[in-house]
Amino acid sequence: MSSHVRIAAVGDVHLGPEVAGHHRAGLADLGERADLLLLAGDLTRHGTVEEARLVAREYADLPVPVVAVLGNHDHHADAADAVASTLRQSGLAVLEATSVVLDAGGARVGIAGAKGFGLGFAGRCGSDFGEPEMKAFARHGRDSAHGLAAALSALPADVDVRIALTHYAPVDDTLIGEPPEIWPFLGNYMLGEAIDAAGCDLAVHGHAHAGTERGLTPAGVRVRNVAQPVLHAAYAVYELPVVARAAG
């Protein structure tokens, strides 16, 4: 028996007072189109608690579960914990090096999430060498990937679908369109390595507003850049096949 689970996803909505309610209007028939909604970070513009309250209202009481990670904008006011807490109070699952399993669309869907960070991609990435600032940059990039790997490892073996949710890009395929000079600030090949090691069915990220929607990891995991300026829509929907596991 096979069926599909429908994953709606979008990132980089950058909600502030001037656009509050706009995205909610685009989610009016979400329940008819999707089984869950992933938010790939940069939900606010400046990462303030006031903006987080707008975000919480935007996604409260939707007909499907909502799972989010934060992005770099959501950290700008140094209030990321309070932002995440505000969103959780509204019923969103906010992941950071953590995972969640949901029953959605008749499937057990495992989602591991982390913001991720820059570092770059194999052959042209930063390294843990030199000035303290450079080492801190490289270490945060590496630690972010380790956090995602740990979250993926924590998913039960029997989930039907395994999804990685990040803000930063795990591959450079989806950065095509962005100036190459800034790619090391847009993603991190070690995120892709973690996704491949876990055998994910789908990886979703945002951050690259001028990038490309579709990409692949070296092992062939589908990667989708769901930054809203890339989608030109309220969200995208990906239908993932679910093959029922044999009893016993």
Binding site: D201, Q228, H232, A233, V237
Partner: protein, 97 residues
């Protein structure tokens, strides 16, 4: 930023590359904007403002700042705003086989 005048046109000379980078940085770091995706370039005596901003209010704020910093140079608005499509449901889904 002092604006030298061009001869007889009534317009100020366009800013240099480093001046444009300073303006891009100001747009990025301005507490009311935080727009990281705006790029400025000079072609002839016109300043082209390209990239994406969140909203029409963001577009106005960016253009106001550019005009304020660039004297009477002609500013060409080529910005996209994301909120035009924020309420648009997807046309179709993608089946991942």
């Amino acid at each position: 930023m002092e604006q030298p005048q061009t001869g007889g046109t009534g317009r100020t000379a366009p800013p240099g590359v480093y001046d444009l980078k300073e303006i891009e940085r100001a747009i990025c770091e301005h507490p009311d904007m935080g727009e990281l995706g705006v790029h400025l370039s000079v072609h002839g005596d016109r300043i082209h403002v390209q990239g994406g901003v969140v909203s029409e209010a963001g577009r106005r704020a960016v253009l106001d700042l550019v005009r304020e910093r660039c004297g009477t140079c002609e500013v060409v608005d080529e910005l996209d705003t994301a909120d035009e499509t924020l309420s648009v449901p997807p046309a179709r889904s993608e089946e991942l086989r």
